[in-house]
Symmetry: C2
Subunit: 575 residues, 2 copies
């Protein structure tokens, strides 16, 4: 093509060369009559210089920021070097300069970190995306996606598509519905995931499927959630839990190596669900820091502290007691209460003295210090509630907050862990029935199949989540491939025959015709990109996101439509 | 992984080896007490043999078609070789045999071409897809997609995503609408293409975008159309028409070479739109055969044939007159009339005599033969109507029909052509206004920009379609990047200010802030796969298609939904 170089490519080795460049004017300066232009493209910046005697000088004086230009010239040595950019030792003495398009003053600044509001950034997203930091996010996203794909192809997976216009199955989250014009009153639904389709690919004998799949959930948005999101959807036949985990580990290792030059140590450690709750109070523990939870009832019950009467008390030791000021502790107390705990208490060891809300109940100081293994400067934080789950969860939230607030979580460290041995069911108190903890196609552990009816609570699933730095980045399971086990599953869930037939009839049918053992996993691409680019806002890694209130501010969607469109769909709105 | 081989891999070089296989029972035979099993996986078939003295013999007798099994055994030489399969010289003497899943009798046959109805095939799609011919279609689709991607990545394109939940812009086809729960009465729309988003990627400075993108049109279905389809969407900045075409040519050449080992001769020939209409009566000519159209008014007008009075007469010579029986010609007459022509006439030259409906008007036979260059056994087919466009179009349909019916179109030949130099506008008689022939973002030829208002009909577009064997497989254009030209375009189209602002406001805005020259193209993946796998039915290359009446027969979609779902959307239906 006619342009000879990108704007990051030229250096001293090109001195004297005639080049042809294009890009955006990042900035211009007139220094003693010489016009200097920073020319930007997606790759970098090159400095152009136009001399007063040059026939393009008039054109050069007209340039403003964000004009699109092309320029021919000769690579010459630069007077004042710029060590911050790869082209900082040269500049281009322009011989020809053409304006390809002009630009008005942009509502947000392009060439630097801009402090425009999120609203303005989203409205002018095409300019926001021109900022180098945003270019980097999206180029990284593209590289990450491709690296994942490479690894899966390398492992004999094929990429297959599944429909976006599917059937509504009102389990799980809320579906987006698409009214049918041909069948008024009937709807297609956008997929929450291609779960059933990928299982049907296995039934059909394709053995190894993946897809970078768009998924949809009509749920209220949170900072790390969008109406539509992208998942790396994987399914394989004839593989065990461990084998599927190994596939994903290779994929993650390849991706982190290729994109970040970061080595993930394989195999990734595995932690049973029970241990995650016990030691970290979370099914997605951040393992970049320790602060392991312990149970303190054995130690505290004999002290008969009124606050802890009939409570489960769990907590952990933090070695920088001085950082937890009164104000800080008040904030943390609110946090654990918000997370359904009853109280937060603490004991500090400062100058070899115990202090804090429950210190007065401790009769034998030395024994207490020995049993808790407290060191000078430590603080023991204690969370209580009426049961083990609530206490563990609140203590886990507290642990996370302290880890993040006091710099224990290194943003450049990546700590992966597989959470395994999940319960197959959980009991839904409200509706007085068992529900599937993952989804109703998840297989029980092979040796516990026979317990599904008689003791559902005891049955563990062949399910696994992968967690990175406290975020669940993916989850999966071995699926039920035997028709009789699927039937038992539906029975334990208390689904009526008609409901089974209506929602899952074809799947139950499919299992009868020679379905291979199979399983898979889905990785959340948006979240992985967010963690790999070290941003906290998922919108940063999505080109055209919706706001928290589900609007596209640039396109102005959703919007009203022509009455003709509604007439064709035979749709009215309730007052 | 524990299985040692796929079922296409073993041959004489593995004799004596212990292997571990898995797959589906394609068929079993009991020959003199020995049980032979054809074991199938997605790669191929291996024959197993179980001897009567083997402890697994009982298991083997239980096997039926489509049971899923795994087997260990030793590779031995086969008595009766099968030359049709790669493993035909060996078989496996089974030492261990496990049934992984059973199978009922399947409603359609798996291991061979099945003549089940399309309805049954779509209902049991997971079984239909198990048939080797369907496996091949979808594996090819996966390979084709990946080859296209490889080539674009190689050419410095990045893959980027665009939203599925967008805004309804009721130009072009009918949008699928998605009601918003949060804003009752408002809708998102599914994209007919990512056209505007990919242009915004260019405005944002990403320079080279592609996406394997899902697109949606709520139009009535035809044999080669689905509600949702996949396109390879490409856009680049700073490239000319020719340069973009070269990108696509390299991509197609790489894909055909890699998947079919077929060499496409580059560059692909280019044909102006005018010539395509003149010589082939179609903007997507099938160039696998000749049958070039010519105009016959100069020759025929002097003969004063009443049928042709005041008509435009065009046609072509076909050299197998004997194939066009009376019955055949009647059918063809209906065909041209259905395509808005007034008449089909013909002149045959048989035994050096002219015959046919208009032969009696030909006074000077020898002159006529010389002027038409008719040879013994030729037939001259003549189509007439009141104008050039209608006549050309009907003659083009006739040409295509004859080419396809009489074996002139070789299914193993691939004839590509770029159709270029399209008109920018066409006049919409019904609404008495100009409309954009492609879309309102298509740029005029650079040297004709100034003619847009004064002589719209004369302005050609920087647009190009790529045609393969008579199918349009892709189309694109250079886009308008100057705000003033875009404004002129909207004016010529007669769009009101409010409409422009409401539908395209952000794009018009975007053009003001330094939009680079850019353009692109979209290739129809489904159609390309159809042509490359030589099937006529687009449903064959889509895993889970809808029927002609827009239903998913397997999932039963669209369907009614819970009243709770409608209540949340505040939707009612008109009686």
């Amino acid at each position: 093509m006619k342009y000879t170089h990108h704007n990051n490519e030229l250096n001293r080795s090109h001195l004297g060369m005639s080049v042809y460049l294009k890009g955006w004017v990042a900035k211009t300066r007139n220094l003693g009559g010489l016009i200097f232009i920073d020319l930007r493209d997606k790759n970098g910046i090159t400095q152009l210089v136009v001399l007063p005697e040059n026939s393009n000088y008039d054109t050069a004086t007209r340039l403003k920021s964000e004009y699109v230009i092309e320029a021919k010239g000769k690579v010459i040595e630069r007077q004042s070097k710029n060590k911050n950019i790869s082209t900082g030792e040269i500049e281009i003495e322009v011989t020809e300069l053409i304006i390809l398009n002009e630009a008005e003053m942009t509502p947000i600044g392009i060439s630097h970190e801009d402090n425009a509001s999120e609203e303005v950034r989203l409205k002018y997203r095409y300019l926001d995306l021109r900022r180098p930091v945003m270019q980097n996010y999206l180029l990284k996203r593209s590289q990450i996606t491709q690296a994942i794909r490479e690894s899966l192809l390398e492992q004999a997976f094929n990429e297959f598509e599944t429909p976006i216009l599917g059937k509504s199955t009102p389990e799980g989250a809320r579906d987006f519905l698409v009214p049918s014009r041909i069948y008024p009153g009937e709807f297609y639904a956008l997929p929450q995931s291609p779960q059933i389709y990928k299982q049907l690919y296995m039934v059909a004998g394709f053995e190894r499927y993946f897809q970078i799949a768009r998924c949809f959930r009509d749920e209220d948005l949170r900072a790390d959630r969008q109406l539509e999101f992208t998942q790396i959807d994987v399914e394989a036949s004839f593989l065990t839990e461990t084998e599927i985990q190994a596939v994903i580990e290779r994929t993650l290792a390849h991706t982190f190596k290729k994109v970040l030059n970061h080595e993930i140590e394989l195999p990734i450690r595995k932690m049973p669900y029970d241990e995650a709750i016990r030691s970290y109070g979370s099914d997605k523990p951040d393992l970049r820091f320790d602060l392991k939870l312990q149970s303190y009832n054995d130690l505290l019950d004999p002290l008969q502290i009124p606050l802890f009467a009939d409570k489960v008390v769990r907590g952990f030791v933090f070695n920088e007691a001085e950082k937890l000021t009164r104000k800080e502790l008040d904030k943390l107390t609110l946090l654990v209460k918000k997370n359904h705990a009853d109280a937060l208490a603490f004991v500090k060891l400062i100058n070899n003295e115990l202090s804090g809300s429950i210190a007065k109940f401790i009769a034998n100081k030395d024994a207490f210090i020995e049993q808790t293994n407290l060191k000078e400067g430590d603080i023991l934080l204690l969370v209580s509630s009426s049961n083990y789950e609530k206490t563990s969860n609140a203590a886990g939230v507290l642990r996370k907050e302290i880890g993040e607030s006091f710099g224990l979580a290194n943003p450049n460290q990546f700590e992966f862990v597989w959470i395994v041995d999940w319960p197959l069911f959980e009991f839904d108190e409200e509706n007085n029935r068992f529900v599937a903890l993952h989804h109703p196609f998840t297989a029980p552990k092979e040796h516990q199949k026979h317990l599904m009816k008689e003791n559902p609570k005891a049955v563990m699933a062949q399910a696994y989540d992968i967690v990175l730095n406290g975020y669940e980045i993916g989850g999966g399971s071995i699926r039920i491939h035997e028709s009789s086990i699927q039937q038992t599953m539906f029975e334990v869930l208390g689904l009526e025959k008609e409901v089974i037939e209506d929602r899952f009839g074809f799947l139950v049918g499919a299992l009868k015709y020679g379905t291979p053992p199979h399983g898979g996993l889905a990785l959340g691409l948006d979240r992985i990109v967010m963690l790999m680019t070290n941003t906290k806002n998922i919108k940063d890694v999505i080109a055209f996101p919706k706001t928290q209130s589900a609007r596209d501010l640039m396109m102005q969607a959703p919007s009203g439509v022509d009455s003709k469109q509604l007439d064709e769909l035979k749709i009215d709105f309730k007052k």
